[in-house]
Amino acid sequence: MDDEKQTSELPHRSGSEVPVLSALGFLSAAVTAQQIALMQVLGWMHWHHFAYMIVAIALLGFGVAGTVLALTREHLQRAWRSLLPWLALGTAIAMPLGVRLAQHEALAVDLPLVFLNPPNAWRLVALCLLLLPPFFCGGLATGLVLTAQARRAGLFYSASLAGAGAGGLAGLALVASVVPARLPAAVAALALASAACLWREVASKARIAIVVTAVAVAAAWLAPGELRPSQFKPIRRALDLPEARVVAARPGLHGWVQVVDAPALRAAPAVSLEFAGEIPGQRAVFVNGLGHGSLLTPDAIRSPAWLDYTTDAVAFVATKPRHVLLLENGPGGWVALAVRRSALRVTVVEPNRSLVERLTEGDAPLAPEWRLPAVNCVVAGGRAYLRRTHEAFDVIRFPSVGALGGTAGLAAASEQFLLTREAFVDAWQRLTPGGVIAVTAWMDFPERNPLRLLATLAEALEAVGAPPRAHLVAARGWATVTFLARRAAGPGGPAWNPADATAIRTFCLERGFDPLLLPELQAPEREAHHAWQNPGFFRLVDALVDGPRESVYREHAFMLRPATDDRPYFSQFLRWGAWKRLHEVFGARAMPFFELGSLVVALTFVILAILAVVGVILPLARLGWHGPGKAGVLLYFGGLGAGFMCVEIGLMLRAQAWLGSPVVAAAVVVTGLLLASGLGSLWSERLPANRSTAWRLVAVIAGVVLIASFELDVVGPAARAWPALVQIGFVLAVVAPIGTAMGMAFPLGLRRLEATAPTHVAWAWAVNGCVSVATPAGAMLLAMSAGFGALFAAGAAAYALALVGAWLGGARDA
């Protein structure tokens, strides 16, 4: 209490606000950087970066802080100077502590089990709560300063915004250079710096605490503990092998690259059972714990015989591959196979710079095939490269789809811009006459991946005027099916002539594969070597090739309609409308095995909504809510919250299409929106706070959101070809006006409310906070099921609701 008196009632020691401004800046930087760091941490531990969830948790922390502030404003404001360093220290401690506690056996969530094992669902709740405290402390500190220094709020707000902007950059820099386990401690150093800025302002007890916290943060850096990925992640399985060890690693914006060596590791995906040779030992490459190819020895590169016995090799049977393009295939035998098949040039396109650098550096590179004279290794996203290049290719190989036996829908929430209808159209434009697009899918049951891939190829072919039946062939092995889409060699000529068909038929016979699509194919040929348990599979294949497809899309239990650039969720197969049928066929407990990703997003939506009500709304209940105009407040401030978050999530997803990495996209959008909306907030003070201003502003925002969505649709395809910095500039140019406009609406309404109905103010904050927390997960579900355009439309609709709220009187005139 002595501290309180000293710092709140008496003049502070230095006589300058520089320490507080600096502290606020560092704290905002830490909070922003923490969001970016957590995306990488969760991306490593689980299958998804959970950007939407982290944004929601941050908002929940701020919301709870706002509620605490509303309830104890008078008391806290008196002590704000003494509280500030302690809150900064709390933020610093909570950052690594929350992540460390989340690793504890009793608290660690294993997402694949959340619907099968109730404690895991509770652990997901615990994870949200464990990650919350830094945002609560940071939010409370910022709120305290801004409310205690209301007359100079602009100055302090500017410091906070500058810090947030710097935090975005710092977060990216840390993700690019620090291993995931150390990220929380690295970010905590920023919060520690915030407290250190106040060193001269605080009493001895706080100074001791700063030193102790510094030691704790240093300890968390030096001994970060193990960040354990899910037991079902591929790297865990690899590291369980005898003598397995990580022999190389590098952090990066596209994920943590690790190379695992073990004597028993061999990779020959779905090799034919007719192959009688040796499969050499290989090192396995993982990015964020997921398999991303294997590393061949120099001997294996010279003689990758087994690759000739994969269905992928069919791409080279009837094609002379002078120039081969490998799109995001990862390291492995594909280069060696192309060279073995007489390719003169091979272009390898990989978006992950850390991966490429780590595998190609030094005198003895880990992936020597990428340094062969015939190989050109390009660091770029697959879609960006297809748009950017002017070269033509004889074979374009896409990355394989799915995994052995299926994937349980774990990737359902992942944006896959290389598996959309538009992606195949882009690739088609880059084929030489007679060139082929080759893409392999793992067979699964119930069949989803191969069928959706076929539907996507068929629609892409129709989009370029090529009849699917004439241009597609496919070969199926015991576990994979490879589709080839071929351009005709000359005008009016067939894509596949009888000699090609014979060559493929012979290849299949010799390798023990079955042709699935081929001119003059007889039904028994389709199961000559590999009988498939579901005869209906072949009928579906034919229906998807020949059409009409609409009835298949409508009647199939899973969503087979192709993914598009607007809805790039290739692995999202769940049709909520077919739930009852799936439940009847497979049983209730089977559902999580098929569509886990979608269900996890839905579960986080429920969890966050409940936490928002409990943490933000319920504490205010004891104050009661009195007076007229509640509906207006609900609609206006709820609409603003929902609209802002729909647009933020929409922008993050859209930006990912160009920037490649979800972490980079989230960092650019979150930072840009923070800065722009903050500036908008400051600017709003110049506007009259009346009803007409409010509703006009909200109407403008709704319009700007729709225009931005349209603009992104129109410019988006071209933007893929731009250099990264130009793309970032473009994203910021889109974000700036939207963010500025969106940032004005809330303080304007609040200012009006303070003048006309002050009892509603706390509730306005709470309603906005609560809706903002629940919306991101809902926005993800909407994006996955209806697309990005629908998400922006929903954002505009939410602002339309806010407009109604403004009209009703949420921001009414006195």
Binding site: N117, R236, A264, L404, G406, L410, Q533, R589
Partner: protein, 240 residues
Amino acid sequence: MHAGFSWVLATMFPAAVFAGEPDASRSAERNRMVDDQISARGVVHEPTLAALRKVPRHLFVPVEIRSAAYQDSPLPIGHGQTISQPFIVAAMTEAAAIARDSKVLEIGTGSGYQAAIAAELSEQVFSIEIVPALAARAAATLKTVGYERVNVRAGDGYHGWPEHAPFDVIIVTAAADSIPPPLVAQLKDGGRMLIPVGPQFGAQNLVLVTKQDGRVRTRTLMPVRFVPFTRAVSAAQKPK
């Protein structure tokens, strides 16, 4: 490398570990397991069902989780491995069509339970486990329970067991994304290989590989739903 590194390790794990486990008390559970989880799902091969009624599954499960031994789920046995769900063991055994004179090779001994079931049907069972500690434990368990004739060795299953090849039946208990060529080579003409194909978490397919006149063919038999173990059980059985 582990290849060729045979184990005769039964003595490393004293039989006392399994003392105090009167089998009679759990035979009723085994019968219920067979009736409710296996017969009810369509497994009809009488010798297979008899084997499952006889082999004390709980003795192949770590002491800490023996109470769950007859549940309709796999269970963790340490080192990231599991003992398969009873139905999968039954379905694979039935599909393998093991005769008394069949020579059986199992890749992935794990707990040794599948090998014990196979040993109820055949005189010659060979099993390879890649994790040496698991191989040793399984060998000890099999000896203690009375299946001394099962040959267990630690090694990389990729190479099979060429000294005893060819085999009438090969059971691969955990599918990788490729089937090792040496295993196909060691499958006798007319032989059968069984593999559950699918993600560790997810729906798996049981795939039958046959060799006839030198040609290898596959047939996907049925989806076999995998029910993963819970962390609570997993935590109780960390590798010691």
